[in-house]
Symmetry: C2
């Protein structure tokens, strides 16, 4: 099972030859979720050898161009390459109009089903849930409607020892309950306690994505204890005033949220293009929250190693 | 005076790591015109070291994504970088809605004046004219509204010999007429014939851009005798049926138009991604029209050398 996050782009505002704006690909055990989709994202996906037809769900945090201008191109390329599989998009309502008007301008009837799931601004919302994952959204504070996303793996707390299944002749339909902590009653009436049958499983992974936002303590509870928190870090703290004016965060803002939310690791990016040297942003963030990683374009974070 | 065309992208349909879809930059004596604007064009402009704020007019042939998906990103970046200068866009009406809805979604009030000039489908139309250049458009045949563009330099047919200005004391206000072939009457009443004062000037440059189109003889008269004709060449001629189905042209189609229109040079591109080797397309085109050049991404065509 692999849970990995690949940074397709992490710069702010304007794409350059070396740096693409925000887009991330989350591989949740071979289910692929795209988070934000700046111009050039489809090229980044190709560059890093991802088959973009595998993406099943796309989450767009807000409608500033550096977070979504690549979406219509990706949707179109999926069509031109003959996609048949459903695609689900989660975003603010206006994006549906933006997609529809562009498909209509080119007289394109997509050859695959595209489902648009509107995000309601300013409230928490469950976006998707099945046996293995829960994906929800929560509001950020960025001047226009803007949302963060939380991906939470559902992993049973216990792992069954395979020799015990044989030994006690445990029926398949009871395995799930045992993984979730139930004891087992054998055919001859003996109660086998759960800790004789199982060992502790790894903790489930959780990933919170806090796209553009100013410092907001309301985020803390939403991202409490996650394995990895991405929090934008547009400015060094000496430019706190500029951060507030532009509804962005500083190094210290991001680190403070990470610290108060007791997350495991913090991932920072969306640095202002004024900074040539990322390491000064990393250093300042680490002064408050040590487990900080830079969201460098092209890196893959393996959740099993956090 | 430099007249140059740079190919920012020339592939068809889908951007890849190596190949960008259609975008061309025409430098008409330091006035910069962008023709089509696929996703990633702003990055291509940076890659080839063009200051994109210098672009004054943008021409979009039609609303298939591989010809305009990069426009909104370029418009936004021009804004974020504080452009003050006017920008003029010439395109089919729907593009204005597409731009407006995206600017509105991000609550962006552009900091520079953006003028949108609608192209009327299915008719010839003068788009811009001043003392130095005339830019017009003509319909192509591509299933949706699609237009070609014609850029014609206005260059006087004669060049004045500077020593004659002094010798005959020619007033400045008469220089223009003499360049256009008038004789000169001196103060003492002598008539100096034009060919004593001037030499032949270089021919004015002209560039015709025929974006996506099926073979259409109506194009011939529109591009008659141009210095350079770009004509799409999506398929080898063995796939003529496929070209017709998809409203595209073959090598032989493009070459035939070039030949019948008696153009000076033909530039071919928009090759289907099925072809790994461009040279077979070039060879087949040359079998009908010898002066053919491939629109390779990154090349610059200097009109003075055609």
């Amino acid at each position: 099972m692999s849970y990995e996050l690949t940074i397709l782009g992490s710069s702010s505002a304007i794409p350059t030859v070396e740096k693409n704006p925000t887009a991330q690909l989350l591989n949740a055990n071979e289910r692929f979720f795209l988070i934000d989709c700046a111009e050039g994202t489809q090229i980044q996906l190709r560059k890093y050898k991802f088959k973009f037809q595998k993406i099943s769900r796309i989450f767009i945090s807000h409608l500033h161009g550096d977070h979504y201008f690549g979406l219509i191109g990706l949707i179109s390329s999926m069509h031109l390459l003959g996609r048949e599989k459903e695609l689900h998009i989660y975003a603010h309502t206006k994006l549906k109009e933006i997609i529809d008007i562009q498909l209509s301008a080119s007289s394109t009837d997509l050859c695959y089903p595209l489902f648009f799931h509107p995000i309601t601004p300013n409230v928490d919302q469950l976006l998707f849930e099945d046996k293995k994952i829960k994906i929800s959204t929560f509001p950020l504070s960025h001047g226009i409607d803007c949302n963060g996303f939380l991906f939470e793996e559902k992993r049973p707390p216990r792992k069954i020892l395979s020799d015990k299944i044989k030994k006690y002749n445990i029926p398949i339909d009871q395995l799930k309950d045992i993984k979730w902590g139930e004891d087992f009653l054998t055919e001859d009436g003996s109660l086998i306690l759960n800790d004789k049958l199982t060992i502790a499983n790894k903790l489930p992974f959780s990933y919170a994505f806090c796209s553009d936002t100013k410092y907001s303590e309301s985020i803390i509870n939403k991202v409490k204890g996650v394995s990895l928190l991405y929090h934008e870090t547009t400015f060094m703290h000496e430019r706190k005033d500029r951060a507030e004016e532009t509804n962005h965060s500083t190094t210290i803002d991001a680190a403070t949220i990470a610290k108060l939310a007791e997350v495991n690791y913090l991932l920072i990016g969306h640095f202002s293009q004024r900074y040539r040297d990322d390491s000064i942003l990393l250093e300042e963030t680490k002064s408050v929250f040590k487990n900080t990683i830079i969201a460098k374009q092209g890196i893959t974070v393996d959740f099993s190693k956090l």
